[in-house]
């Protein structure tokens, strides 16, 4: 594995979770993976802790893709239902719990958008989202190093590549849809997506391989 070797994960956990009280362990301090494992037992306290910990992230993905609070709430709820039903098939080697959840939420959101919306995303929404992805002070502070590198790389992209990236990667638009939306040839749209992704790929091969991409 390139970014998610067990050493890095364990080091982080050792730092954070050692020295916890041994009696009535507060579930709020459980590692994400342990909380998810516990979710499968149906314990309501673990379930509510899980929802509280991730609802902001999950709803954030859903609202970013759909732009519709009601639809986003439906998607966020479905995401948690899915996580709850399928906690057993989560595999930490494939990525963090956060990535697992955001992937579920994103897939559900894309499906919902494809089913409902014939219109491509509004231009102002697209630009606002690209700005949000590259300039979120709150997340700059919290993000791990890999996320920060990725964010910086997105910010360095030429605007048209950044737009193509967000259209394909966040809104799930095909190269054809990107081409129509930007009024450019199909080949140009494909090149923009590929070039942007290629540049971002470079951020993965950083010297410190110790953390996962979130």
């Amino acid at each position: 594995m390139i970014f998610r070797d067990g050493r890095a994960i364990s080091c982080r956990r050792r730092t954070v979770y050692k020295g916890v009280p041994s009696f009535r362990f507060p579930v709020g301090r459980l590692p994400d993976e342990a909380l998810l494992a516990g979710l499968a037992t149906g314990d309501p306290e673990l379930a509510v802790t899980f929802v509280r910990r991730f609802q902001r992230t999950v709803f954030g993905v859903a609202i970013a893709v759909t732009g519709d609070p009601q639809l986003a709430e439906d998607i966020a709820q479905q995401t948690f239902e899915r996580a709850w039903r399928h906690a057993q098939i989560y595999d930490s080697r494939r990525g963090s719990v956060t990535t697992w959840l955001t992937t579920i939420a994103h897939n559900l959101a894309i499906d919902a958008v494809r089913a409902r919306r014939a219109e491509p995303v509004a231009p102002e929404d697209l630009d606002a989202l690209l700005d949000a992805v590259t300039e979120t002070p709150e997340q700059w502070a919290l993000a791990d190093e890999a996320s920060s590198r990725l964010r910086a790389a997105v910010a360095r992209l030429p605007r048209e590549q950044g737009r193509a990236l967000v259209m394909a990667g966040v809104y799930g638009m095909t190269a054809r849809q990107v081409a129509d939306r930007e009024q450019i040839p199909l080949g140009t749209a494909k090149t923009r997506i590929r070039t942007a992704m290629g540049k971002l790929r470079g951020t993965l091969a950083a010297p410190n391989r110790g953390d996962h991409v979130q």
Binding site: D43, G60, I89, N107, M197
Partner: protein
């Protein structure tokens, strides 16, 4: 075949494939190529990580008031709905062992392809979704009653008992679950390979709950397991040759 995708062609469409926006026919041809080309699998795996990372950059957003309550209600409803399932995928007492086996099988499969886990990311969670019908059955609502009486403990290395070597968590229930993060490297045991986990009870009996892999002394693992808070005392990790690598005692949980 005339429309065989070459590596060069794959590199042109790999980004779109990883982002899930490649139209059906092209996608099928690309996936067929990945089936037989490890280098391109790795390439697309990296692109998938980039795509996941991009989603991870989206700003968080508080859901509307009452969201948490509505989700919890939906989860309870879901549990109740499956309680009287006429075609249960897992039934009553069989649930624990069946789930345990499924999880063990999945973990074995995962280990076998660990080197390519990133590369398979493009199929990644989607594969998980595809197998959802055979693997996951929500717990019956009857089990949605226990408060959180989580047991915790620390692992210590058999060779350097003074050094902490990981954390243990156990949640009572039938099935309950256990989860551990293991870190034997600092304690001087950078063991790589399979380890067996055995739970110890106050009456001296033991129960094997499964095996998992450590890499350079590190690993994390969880499984469904019978956990009785009144009798569970500890856990032990052993190598295949029987060498005890680490032991731990549960200290948390209810007083009895």
């Amino acid at each position: 075949m005339s429309n065989d995708v070459t590596c060069e062609r794959l590199r042109e469409i790999g980004a779109e494939l990883a982002l899930g926006v490649l139209p059906g026919r092209e996608r099928a041809e690309a996936v067929a190529h990945l089936d037989r080309c490890a280098a391109c699998r790795e390439y697309v795996g990296h692109m998938t990580l980039v795509g996941d990372g991009l989603i991870g950059l989206l700003p968080g957003h508080e859901p509307p008031p009452g969201f948490e309550t509505r989700v919890m209600r939906a989860l309870e409803k879901d549990a109740t709905a499956h309680e009287g399932d006429p075609h249960p995928r897992t039934v009553g007492p069989a649930r624990g062992p069946v789930r345990g086996r499924l999880r063990a099988a999945r973990l074995r499969t995962a280990s076998a392809v660990a080197a390519f886990a990133v590369a398979f990311g493009v199929l990644g969670w989607a594969v998980g979704t595809a197998v959802e019908n055979v693997t996951a059955s929500p717990p019956a609502s009857s089990s949605v009653t226990a408060g959180s009486r989580l047991l915790t403990g620390s692992l210590t290395s058999a060779s350097a008992p003074a050094r902490p070597a990981g954390d243990l968590y156990a949640h009572p229930g039938e099935p309950g679950w256990i989860y551990m993060s293991v870190d034997l490297a600092d304690a001087g045991t950078p063991y790589s390979g399979q380890v067996r986990c055995t739970l110890e009870r106050s009456d001296g009996s033991t129960v094997r709950v499964g095996t998992f892999a450590l890499r350079n002394g590190y690993g994390e693992w969880g499984t469904a397991a019978p956990v009785d808070a009144t009798t569970l005392t500890g856990a032990r990790l052993t190598a295949p040759d029987g060498t005890v690598l680490a032991t731990g005692h549960f200290t948390g949980g209810p007083k009895t």
